[in-house]
Symmetry: C2
Subunit: 188 residues, 2 copies
């Protein structure tokens, strides 16, 4: 079954024709390693559902330091949500860590689906709620735990991530320097 369909059906049942209709609102896109999906100051046309590969979204500050907002791998949605929802220029970059294929959903099509199909509005509400809760957890971890604890939590939660992604990116996600991360990522 299509992995998007599967995700939606975890929240609400769908007939074949409904799913086909939904899918017709997405376009396909392939991205190569190091290619940008969104760059600062761009208008953000789409939310992206990841079919395969690996992406990251990150903020780049004045000094050129990068802070990873989120990773995107199979089944995840990724974009600059502030820019996407409010149709303002991007402040966040999204680029490709590993050749990827994504489904693109424009804001117009998202809203169209939501207004035409109560189910889809329901789906996106639930997804958004879950995302909100996950962000709250991350915020608390950031406030309450030291770098080492944050790292260990991440390893426990997404063991695959650690294998796949350079340590420097993990560090940036955790809000630590790569040197600090290195100093405790090996030794007990």
């Amino acid at each position: 079954m299509h992995i998007l369909r599967q995700q939606i059906q975890e929240i609400t049942p769908l007939s074949d024709s409904e799913f086909d209709y939904i899918l017709s609102h997405f376009t396909n896109k392939k991205i190569k390693k190091h290619q940008f999906l969104i760059q600062e100051n761009d208008l953000v046309p789409n939310d992206y559902f990841v079919l395969s590969g690996f992406l990251k979204s990150y903020y780049l500050n004045q000094e050129g330091k990068e802070y990873i907002m989120q990773f995107g791998t199979q089944n995840w949605w990724i974009t600059d949500y502030n820019s996407y929802f409010n149709q303002i220029p991007a402040t966040i970059n999204v680029d490709c860590i590993e050749d990827a294929e994504v489904l693109c959903l424009s804001l117009i099509n998202r809203e169209k689906l939501c207004s035409e199909m109560h189910k889809m509005e329901h789906f996106f509400r639930k997804k958004s709620n879950a995302g909100y809760v996950a962000l709250q957890q991350r915020l608390l971890t950031l406030l309450n735990n030291n770098p080492r604890e944050r790292y260990e939590k991440l390893v426990k939660q997404y063991p695959v991530l650690i294998q796949k992604v350079p340590k420097a990116l993990i560090a940036s996600y955790l809000g630590v320097s790569r040197e600090t991360l290195s100093r405790f990522s090996l030794k007990k």
Copy 2:
């Protein structure tokens, strides 16, 4: 006009009877200073819409240190969302900083409203999206800005908050010790 109606109507129009129907799914509650709305390990029955007063939600760690998740004042919604949405025991506390009056919305009634009224599903989706974006911003501020910058941003964004709330709570929201906050909250 009822401030809840006003908030909903910023997103979607509402007839008198529709709003009355919506409102019938809420119950009223008055809370006194220092009273808990939610305590760790409680089941969380409601999401709370603040009519007046001042509340805070916060995580209390093992060492008794408190981290403020959010403040709740007029027009804000507050609860332990993880516990509320997933109906699991609370890990966050919500209590009253200043005598308050809130509207209580049970999860059952929320879902009922959302399934009966597409409008309400739409409203809550939009609210959740906005909340998600706001949390992302806060996360980035936490990662990218030092305590002083975080404080100055907060002052700019919510000047009233600083007046109304003891500095120790501001510090806890910003993830800084009160002493550190004190050291730069005065001098330029």
